[in-house]
Amino acid sequence: MTQISRRQAIAVLGALGLGATVAACAGPGGSTAPGGSTGPAAPSSGDITGKVSFAHWRGEDKAVFDELIKRFVAKNSGVEVVQDISTSNDYNAQGLQKVRGGAIGDAFATFRGSQFTNFTEAGVYTELKNSKAVGNYQKSLLSAGQSGDSQSGLPYQIVFPMPMANVDLFDKAGAELAPKDWDAFLNMCEKLASSGVTPISWPGGDVGNGGQLFNCMIANNAPVDDMCVQIEQGKLKCTDDWFIEMLNQYKELAPFLQANATGTAVEPAQNLFSQGKAAMLATGSYHLAAVRNLGAKFPIELVFPNTSKDGNAKYEGVYNATFILGVNSASKHQAAAAAWIDFLSEPENAGYYANQTAQHVSVKDVDYTNADLKRLSPWLDKKTALAARFQFQNLDVRNAVEATATAVISGTSPQQAAEAAQKIVDERL
């Protein structure tokens, strides 16, 4: 047998190491998905077969989707759909890397805002403009899934990121549910506090949920509708008068929040509300099912913290169109994935999803039978602003801008908080 010396062995291993080095030096950016824009149209026909992976972050909706999958498979015997569920934070951080290879997420959902933009830039979405599904949606709500001229995704859910209210506590305190301006809103909080309850339960210790109140506070304060885009671009500043004014209003809210609000996570905040200790939960309608599961039996309404001074507010509330459904351009089962999206977009199935999860959908002609959804349905026709915080493309900027609210509620002056946030924005211009 041929023998080699230690030196030769080291040379062989060294060559392997060098090979690894050279391989490592291949340029970044390799991908199976084409980059740059929305991919070709999802096939409208073809074999609805194979194993479709449906990637999303709504773990709480798993059972509902399981039932819908059962119905879909009953109609299409050669197909199997499996859910690939991550937590919302993980999905937000790693969703794109997970899905872009095509092995996971033949069909997928994205958050509105930076994640949707990243997915479209990475070319993960296919064109749905001429799909069967698109006709089922309310036209005015489709914009959140558009990228240039393309209809990359279909925003499935409509949520109202506004405080939810315990109507019984409001009635008991004699507080009005629809304050016409900021003074009326503060007056309402006063009445609730006088009746012995905490007016607002706010999860200030949870960046994602605590930041939803920002959508309400900024909607009528900002001079333009794309205020967060302009802040990110440096055209508007956190140190502008209107922004400082908004922070002053946050400061006025502080006495009406639960004690130590900045350290409260979302679950305890939900508990305060569902146990009737707090009259409002300042997150949004997407927590309806959660608070019901925690035992809330009282009727629930939405309250808009109207920040206008004179009662002439531009908007009566805020909404968000999210859970943007799409078909993966790198999928090997595109026809089946497209059929699954079509199926979800049928009014009957969208209605089942909505009523079971207590969330409105942007699909037309849906019959809302869930009592909470029925009660809140008038909000679908009100003049509401599209939630502003999802305009931010840079999450560091978003977190810095929203952190001004937490800082002010903790006792920092609005000016100081605004300057600290603007510094971070300026660093990223």
Binding site: M1, T2, Q3, I4, S5, R6, A9, V12, L13, L16, G17, G19, A20, T21, A23, A24, C25, G27, P28, G29, G30, S31, A33, G35, N89, D90, N92, A93, Q94, L96, Q97, S114, N118, E121, A122, G204, G205, D206, V207, G208, A259, N260, A261, T262, G263, T264, A265, P268, N271, L272, N394, L395, D396, N399, A403, T406, S410, K423, I424, E427
Partner: protein, 318 residues
Amino acid sequence: MSTHLGMATKRKAPGNRAETAAKKRRSPTRVSPALYLFPLPAVLVVAIFLVMPTLQAFQYAVTDWNGFSAAFNYVGVDNFVRAFTKDSLFTNALTNNLKFVLLVVIAQTVFSLLLALLLTKNSRGNVLLRALFFFPTILSSVSVAFIWKFIYDPNFGLANSLLGAVGLNGLQSSYLGDNNQALYWVAMTQVWFHAGQMMVVYIAGLQAIPQELYEAAEIDGANKWQQFKSITWPFVAPATSIVVAYTTVQSFKAFDLILGIAGNPPKSSLDILSTRIYSTFANSEFGYAAAQSIIFMAMIALVTWLQRRLLRLTPKGE
């Protein structure tokens, strides 16, 4: 005769060759090539999963790659310069991390040594207590984070409830919600989590100290403090070295504990280097995140080296 001798000499030559060959066979520098195949799987695993990603991190660090686009630009050392001069979030995370490491290293080393000193003897009670203090170590960091998140909750949490029950309402706090205190509370959690593990390292060191030394010291009239200073501490120096180095690395990488306890993204008062790098990756700045990762790696190496230099924790006599 000469012929005989000559023949003998001639016969010796093949014998020499055989001896040399045998020597070569015995020589540790000459082995069968088949033997070199055995480490090959390990070499490949290390090359693919450790060497290549590390080298790639260096390459990405000098680009502005966003993590998904095919296009990117080489930006030289801009990412490194940006981290230290134009990114207050990064410098804030660095400051937080150094503060966190300092707090945890001091508290955990002292606390685990104290526990070890109290529980060195192998009595039944001590074994039970050791198991109790070691228990948090076997929990997952996410479980630990959720336990302590509940304890620190200002509304329903155990800490404020206990303080309220004994009438110390004035001491009730927002804990993680207070930017000035949050890092200290998380450091306390980290110490609770890992002190038991370090206690075991110390106990092993303490049990190796010859008892005769203490007996001799007692005969010489040395008090407990003098015994600790002159016998115990020098003998547990190697264990301290391990504890300090391990705790340092652990504290730099308290990623899962911080995310579990503070959520994602953590607020700026709880942002440490590993969570900042994660946020930068999530923000689709792969090139910049790679540069931050390299700084992070260098920081751990530097701090560990400085500790070894400054503490000079070598056993007596070495």
